[in-house]
């Protein structure tokens, strides 16, 4: 920021100063006076093509480093699910505690938000943390940040989403970790754990009849699938992240695991975003259990960041 501002200020001020100086210095003093016929200068042209290009590349590189870091969340984050819908935000803490237009996070911990939309495109933005990300219906986006100072900070919907777009905001409360833990356990009483809710869905929606945990079902075992590289029928591989799990629920035929038939029905339109999140949370929780040897096509992640 400072770097770009300094360069831009330098060029802005230099050119403006040159214009103002020339404007007065070479003002017309006689109505018939003409200017000195100068047609150009190749060295100057070369200089003002090359120098700004090089400076621009340094700006690009610096911005790219920040962006790549932002788009790649660190491991071991605190995962919070956030759903945007016209015109409110619902957040779900790892314990299943739900908040509306509020978000509590601990200071000093990497927080990852997994963003989903029920309707149109929204955007979750926290200007004080210098972060924002579009919330797009039909797939998950993620964003992460590490709060450094306790306090209350605005969050906004930054992507225009219809009538009450400007009211679709709230507050992030960054708390000391001990306070956060106390708040979470105090406020979480009575709320349903998303993993348990997901486990119930896994049975209710009959996922369990094919996705047997020992890998001998008609569908691959899901034990340890989260974060693993999955080999697909077409020979390519894909990392099983939240987006992949979601896609596999809604459009199971899009990516078929090697060694299996495309038998699974689509659950498009049959589950709410919240149910999908709970189911995803359950599937993610399965990774702590041992991976069965027969889990065809699924290999444990190696060397994952």
């Amino acid at each position: 920021m400072v770097y770009i501002t300094v360069i831009c200020l330098f060029f802005g001020v230099a050119i403006t100063a040159a214009i103002v100086y020339f404007f007065f210095k070479y003002r017309r003093t006689h109505p018939e006076q003409v200017g000195v016929p100068i047609h150009g200068d190749m060295r100057l042209e070369a200089a003002w093509i090359v120098v700004p290009s090089l400076l621009a590349m340094t700006m690009f590189a610096w911005g790219a480093v920040v962006y790549v870091d932002y788009r790649r969340a660190p491991v071991d984050t605190l995962d919070i699910y956030v759903i945007g819908k016209q015109w409110m935000w619902k957040a779900q803490q790892p314990t299943g505690l739900k908040e509306i237009n509020e978000l509590h996070v601990p200071v000093g911990r990497d927080v990852k938000l997994i963003l989903a939309s029920e309707d149109v495109i929204h955007d979750f933005s926290v200007p004080a943390f210098r972060v924002k990300m579009d919330v797009v219906p039909g797939h998950y986006n993620t964003m992460w940040f590490r709060p450094t100072k306790a306090g209350r900070y605005h969050f906004f919907c930054s992507q225009y989403c219809g009538t009450n777009h400007s009211l679709m905001g709230g507050w992030v409360t960054a708390m000391e970790p001990t306070e956060y833990a106390a708040w979470l356990s105090g406020a979480s009483e009575g709320s349903q754990n998303p993993v348990l809710a997901g486990e119930k869905l896994f049975a209710d929606k009959a996922c369990i009849t094919c996705h047997l945990s020992d890998g001998r079902g008609r569908a691959p075992s899901l034990n340890g699938v989260y974060g693993a590289r999955v080999l697909l029928a077409d020979g390519s591989t894909v990392t099983a992240d939240e987006g992949y799990i979601r896609e596999s629920i809604l459009e199971p035929k899009a990516k078929i695991v090697a060694g299996y038939q495309p038998l699974m029905p689509s659950f498009q339109g049959q589950m709410t975003e919240e149910q999908i999140l709970n189911l995803t949370a359950y599937i993610k929780s399965l990774q702590s259990q041992p991976v069965p040897a027969t889990g065809a096509g699924i290999a444990p992640a190696t060397g994952k960041k």
Partner: protein
């Protein structure tokens, strides 16, 4: 005044509505784009008054959303895009290259009627429920969720696109086939180069927006799943298609204005433009590279990191030709004979505002910084500096520069200079505070906002009232001058282009005899016909050459 010219050659309403004279069609466009400018301006005025208080002073959120949407649609599709090409370009391009008319005069008239039909649909949308999707028509908001009159607006913009395509086609064919003897490519005025580059974008880009809006309209009317994820569509696909046109559309707006500036500066510095071929080439470079930067509007949609890197890099590259132009314009002033006439004030104002608009583009192209300022008022300020500070200043400056040619009359010079200064000050007061608002985190398209943003919003609204005065003044005195202005004569400045060799206003056929071009562009050295001091190098009062 010449006894007979294009304005009095024939009389009656039919002679205007059925004319094929490019100059009369330009005047028809002048009236219609001015109409849309005032519609868009009225919406802008209400927006700024509404934002005086944090909770919103004037209207409901629903109405506010319609105001900024209709402001954008009217200004972009029906004022900015046609303004310079269809008014000044139509009038000047054939005269500047020594032609009698455009290559296809009837198609030229057809363009205007298509524009009217498209404009009619959009006005119908505005008056029957309005439009609240944002001018960007993002799906699935526009195609599924919005309750406003989206369909007629989409049809109107779709139809209007053909007007642009036909104008672009006409310009390209005219430049290729109708140049006067001696008018080689590198003797063409830079305004013509700029129109040529703009026409390339018209022809290559406009069909894409037409298809995109058609798909969005079909999804809305018949529930076909192109962009709606519930029907298996992808909302991000719409953004790719939309910006594939709409980013180059920014260059449709700014390139012609750059062409105007490249005419004004050498005329009022009375010397050849510095680096002619670099300015001409940079117009083409902008038109071409401009097609490969669209996804920089989408860094935070979840697009792949690699694609974001590529589009950020290309966005920095497209800044270079613009920088080249600014450096060359500035260098043209060096050792010139500079006058402070109104068009020159606009040209220098343009450079200053375009400089700020362009340099803040470097902030937005920077991936890391864009995370913070994307979709905030920083973006709003940035593109208003380009489109209003750049394109509109260029358009109004060009109107003043060629007004004596178009009407045969001079406008009141002192009043015009005052108006130019008011416009410059009012513009900066309106839009500079918005950079600060954006950096502080105020999102765009908000009808209410946290109280800490109020001071800067009030400053912006105060500036807008000055800006409005700056627009009303030229409107009044230019109209006044058509009847009461002093007779201009053929070449009041004097300037070097072919358009200044003929009568003011020109004959219907533009020239008595087809001119033959024997001089280089902006050449004051070998032009005794201009009646200026041309003996050797001119003497400067400061004796520094």
């Amino acid at each position: 005044m010449p006894r007979e010219h294009y304005l009095n050659a024939t009389y009656g309403i039919r002679s205007w509505l059925l004319t094929t004279d490019h100059k009369r069609i330009a005047m028809l466009y002048l009236v219609s784009v001015t109409f849309f400018f005032f519609i868009g301006g009225a919406f802008a005025t209400m927006i700024r008054i509404h934002l005086l208080t944090p909770t919103g002073l004037l209207v409901t959120p629903e109405t506010y959303n319609k105001l900024f949407t209709m402001h954008g649609v009217a200004m972009i599709f029906f004022f900015l895009i046609p303004s310079i090409p269809a008014v000044l370009g139509n009038f000047l391009l054939p005269i500047m290259i020594g032609a009698k008319d455009l290559a296809f005069p009837k198609i030229n008239l057809l363009s205007w009627y298509i524009y009217l039909v498209g404009g009619g649909f959009v006005l119908y949308s505005f008056s029957t429920g309005g439009l609240d999707t944002g001018w960007t028509f993002y799906t699935p908001l526009s195609s599924v969720y919005s309750n406003s009159a989206v369909t007629p607006a989409v049809i109107g913009v779709f139809i209007n696109g053909f007007s642009s395509i036909l104008t672009g086609l006409n310009f390209i064919v005219t430049v290729h086939t109708m140049r006067a003897p001696g008018m080689t490519w590198f003797r063409m005025p830079l305004f013509v180069w700029a129109q040529y580059a703009t026409s390339i974008i018209f022809i290559l880009g406009t069909p894409v927006i037409a298809i995109t809006l058609l798909l969005a309209g079909l999804e809305r009317m018949f529930h076909l799943g192109f962009f709606n994820p519930a029907l298996g569509g992808d909302p991000i696909l719409f953004q790719h298609l939309f910006w594939f046109y709409s980013h180059p559309a920014v260059y449709i707006m700014i390139l012609p204005a750059m062409g105007v500036i490249s005419e004004i500066i050498p005329t009022f510095a009375r010397k050849p433009i510095f680096g002619y071929s670099f300015i001409a080439g940079s117009s083409i470079a902008i038109a071409v590279i401009g097609f490969f930067v669209w996804a920089h509007h989408m860094f935070l949609t979840g697009q792949s990191t690699y694609s974001a890197l590529a589009f950020s890099l290309l966005s920095y590259l497209v800044a270079i030709p613009s920088a080249v132009k600014v450096f060359n314009w500035t260098s043209t002033l060096y050792k010139g004979s500079i006058s402070y006439d109104t068009p020159m004030l606009y040209a220098l104002g343009f450079i200053g505002l375009f400089l700020i608009g362009g340099l803040t583009g470097l902030f937005l192209a920077c991936l890391g910084l864009d995370i913070h300022i994307h979709d905030t008022y920083f973006v709003v300020a940035h593109f208003h500096y380009i489109m209003v500070g750049g394109a509109v200043m260029g358009y109004v400056g060009g109107l003043h520069f060629w007004w004596p040619k178009i009407t045969g009359k001079l406008y009141p010079e002192f009043l015009a200079r005052v108006a130019a200064v008011i416009l410059f000050i009012g513009f900066n007061l309106t839009f500079f505070p918005q950079f600060l608002l954006g950096y502080l985190g105020m999102p765009r398209r908000y009808s209410s906002y946290p109280p800490e943003f109020q001071v800067l919003n009030v400053m912006s609204t105060a500036g807008a009232s000055i800006l409005a005065l700056g627009y009303l003044l030229p409107m009044i005195y230019l109209t006044w001058s058509m009847r009461y202005g002093k007779v201009a004569g053929r070449n009041p400045w004097p300037a070097t282009g072919l358009e200044w060799q003929t009568d003011s206003p020109p004959l219907t056929e533009n020239f008595d005899v087809t001119p033959e071009v024997t001089w280089e562009p902006y050449d004051y050295e070998n032009r005794p016909d201009l009646g200026l001091a041309i003996e050797g190098a001119p003497t400067h009062a400061h004796g520094d050459d």
